[in-house]
Every structure is written in structure tokens, then in C-alpha cells.
Symmetry: C2
Subunit: 117 residues, 2 copies
Amino acid sequence: MPKEAAGGSHRAPPVHTDPEEVSLLTALSAVADPVRITLIRELANSADWTRSCGSFDVPVGKAALSHHFSVLRGAGLVEQRDEGPKRVNRLRREEFEARFPGLLALLLADEVVGGAE
Amino acid sequence: MPKEAAGGSHRAPPVHTDPEEVSLLTALSAVADPVRITLIRELANSADWTRSCGSFDVPVGKAALSHHFSVLRGAGLVEQRDEGPKRVNRLRREEFEARFPGLLALLLADEVVGGAE
DNA sequence: CTGAGTGTTCGATGGAGAGCGAACACCAGG
DNA sequence: CCTGGTGTTCGCTCTCCATCGAACACTCAG
């Protein structure tokens, strides 16, 4: 299936989902994963649009990482923008908080204790 | 093996987990399931100790149902007590709220409200 | 004691999704 | 142009878990 280039890579606009359109189950499922929790926390500790997808310290390959970001976008948790060859991220704090009050705070509040912070 | 001998007509005691000892991931995983969400909601709309396990309207057999209650106990969400041949339930509102503030409210708040369905 | 009702456990099955490697597409820089 | 860095997609594997049917355990009412 020789497919045309078009839909291929990260030059195509990232598909975003509005938090308002996200079901509760989708949000909970997105958030019930250790890797994604780590991503959200690291993202929360960084300024908006400063973290590229590859700059996160998680023990998975980039294929899985790309999948995780796709899930986070689908849950309305993360917004992405292309910046040169990189794709930078932003946590949708207020929008997500408006749809699921307290959930994001819960994820960040339960930070791992043990020093580096 | 020391067994509760004479006169002791006791069934296997339900194993409960204190919400304080529950990890965030465990709680989120427990809650990220449609059947268990239904159970929690129905339980929230009933008085404590008034609902037996079989009295819930969910489209699963009793084997699966028993498993779901086991998960809910393990997440510190539900407390059970044997009452005659039945096992009646209670939602651990305050205790769970203390450990995961806002989470229970989120589950109940989203009841029939429209997001994307 | 016997039978009905209730819930748990066991074994097996099916599907969802998390993971990887490789191939591909895009961008910036030499 | 070609190269290195970045991220997405595809095909595949593998593990986890939700589910069921059947067997078992227990309590209560006749």
C-alpha cells in the first residue's frame, strides 16, 4: 500500500480533542497509566511550550512515547505545536480542570516523595 | 492450623484495604472501569449497608461481579460486611475522600451530565 | 436434614493496549 | 544535495484483565 506522503509525519497538524468532549471514562483511562502520569507531572513542572516529546525521562521507546502523547491529546490533557523539527507540549491546566475538577490536582498532589523535586 | 473452632460459624472474612495505603495508580485503575463506576454510583445513591452484592444492575455474571467488588475493596472504596447469607456494602466516602480529594466527587458529579457520550 | 439463595474460587478464553523494531516523513544545517 | 535529529506509523508480540461456566461454601427457612 504505497501511500502518499500527506498524512505521514508530524508536519500534519496534531489532532486535538477539547476537554469538554472527553468522557469521564476516557479521562480516567488516560490517567491510569504510570508512564502518562510521569509525563503529566514533568510537564506540570515545566513552562509551557518548553518541552519536546523526546525530552521526557521515561523508560519507553519513542514509538510507545508517541502513542502516549496521542492518548493524552485524545483526553484533552495536552496540547502540541510544531516548532522546527520538534513538537513542543503544553499542559491544558485550566481547560482540563474545568471539565474534570480536581483530577489534575490529584495527579500532581500525589508527587513521588524522595528528594528530586 | 488454628481454626476458629466450635460454634464459630464464620465465613471467609472480606479482605479490606485502608484507603491510606492505596497508591494513586491503584485507585485510578480501579475507577477506570465502566462496571465499577456504575457500582460506585448506585452505591452512592443508597443508604449504607442496604445493598447486597447481587442487587446491582450491571450486565455481568456474578463471578465477574465478585471480582469487581474485590477490586473496589482493594482500592479502599468499598467496605463489606456479612449479614446472614448476604454480603452488604458501604461506600467509604470520608476515608476515600481524605486520601484522594475530589476523586469520588468527580465520579458522582459526572453522573448523567453530557460531555461526549 | 434438605433445598433455595447468595457469593467466592477455579480454569479457560478473548480482547485491549503497552511495548519494540523498522521504515518513513519532515526539518535544519553543512 | 546529503546527513543527523525528531516524531509518526505499521506490523507484531506479549501481558494483563474482564468475562463466563461450573463447582464449591455458607446461611437461613422449612
